[in-house]
Amino acid sequence: MQSQYSLRSPAVKRLMKEAQELREPTEQFHAHPLEDNLFEWHFSIRGPEDSEFEGGIYHGRILLPPDYPMKPPSIILLTPNGRFDVFKKICLSISGHHPESWQPSWSIRTALLAIIGFMPTHGNGAIGSLDYTTDERKRLAKKSADLVLCVMLILFLLCNSDHKSLSAQNVVQLRIC
């Protein structure tokens, strides 16, 4: 990964340090850059305890601007959760929607903890925020965790059997579980 970037660029140095710092998953989240692009990260966050998101596992992407950390990252959730719209940049003071209030001393860690922290708060009609009912959010939380289990099961089967024995039909059955 190192060879294709200018090591003189503070953004590159900073992102490599952050990748190093975050390489072990924490209780609350796991985030890592794509293998071939330091400026795009993928993450999973755990829904906060004692909230309607408890038990949920939500995935998303982080896009870093070339002048990071002077400008904020953009954060996009991919797992339906009932609080933030999916496939849209999240509107928080900490994300790319409000560059005027981003602080360079914040980091990817700060941004993810902020997302987790904001989940149980009211969206107040901000762009990209959703106001689903508690029941719907609980259902999505459970579904998100099931989805993670499914993906892990598929990966397990793929790794531990010869590929032919896992027919396309089996995969389809697994996906609807």
């Binding site: 002048d67 400008k71 360079p104 001393s105």
Partner: protein
């Protein structure tokens, strides 16, 4: 009926409630930044002060008189890019340029910067990122200890990545000083905000301009007295001179024109 009219008006203005206008605003902001970046370096060349006369119309008596007054005390200036970071960048470059010729002052300052990191972490700043900005700042000071000349310093300050990292550390120093002395500084903050809120909104984000409170804090924490020559449309033939703090001899001088700082020689 009335609501319909409003909807009609919105439609005529091209307003679409389903569109995310933040995105468009940000794209436009970025474009303006790039246009400015394309025509103005972060720190300009040392230029004769008399060229400043050409920037204003010959009939503009107030400014022409004030420039003449400025020429009595100064001979040259450097333009700093107008990006809201001009005070910090101008201060940083102007002061480090002095440090090139004053090694004992350089040692004193390095000591100040070294201890500032732990102070900030103690105040609750995130150590991981503070460490990042701090080590970059120290790296530049170590370059000054070796045979670094004005040209190399100019190159460092005109490298956007490096230069912004230096600006961030100066902003952090200001934020740390204000928060550490919040009992005192809370008296100067408007809008019912706490010192911490003020720092989050007006000090730490890049591009936020500086006022007296920022200058007071930066000169105090660094121990570097600064003179500011204020040139505005107010009555009188001369510029207004202020020194921060007022009982010290300034190490460098900045020229203030409404909304902007340049460096004076």
């Amino acid at each position: 009926m009335a609501t319909e009219n409003i909807e009609d008006a919105k439609a005529q203005m091209g307003y679409d409630p389903t569109t995310n206008y933040d995105e468009a605003t940000m794209a436009q902001q970025r474009q303006i930044e790039q246009e400015i970046a394309g025509c103005q370096p972060l720190i300009g060349k040392e230029t004769d002060l008399k060229t400043l006369h050409d920037e204003y119309s010959p009939e503009d008596k107030i400014y022409q008189d004030k420039i003449t007054d400025l020429q009595r005390k100064h001979s040259a200036y450097r333009r700093i890019r107008m990006d809201g970071n001009c005070f910090y960048r101008g201060f940083g470059f102007g002061y480090m340029e002095k440090l090139l010729k004053d090694k004992s002052e350089l040692q004193r300052f390095k000591e100040v910067v070294t201890t500032s990191k732990d102070e900030m972490i103690k105040l609750g700043f995130p150590s991981f990122t503070i460490e990042d900005f701090h080590s970059n700042f120290i790296e530049v000071l170590e370059k000054l200890e070796k045979d670094c000349g004005v040209d190399e310093l100019l190159e460092i300050f005109n490298d956007q990545g490096y230069s912004d990292y230096l600006v961030v550390y100066l902003r952090l120093l200001v934020s740390g000083h204000l928060q550490k002395n919040d009992d005192f500084f809370m008296n100067f903050i408007e809008g019912g905000r706490s010192v911490k809120e003020f720092c989050a909104q007006e000090v730490e984000p890049m591009g936020k301009e500086s006022d007296h409170i920022h200058i007071t804090a930066l000169t105090a924490i660094t121990g570097v007295p600064v003179c500011i020559e204020y040139m505005d449309r107010s009555e009188g033939h001369g510029v207004t001179t202020l020194v921060f703090p007022d009982d010290k001899t300034p190490v460098l001088t900045l020229l203030y024109k409404p909304g902007h700082y340049d460096l004076l020689y």
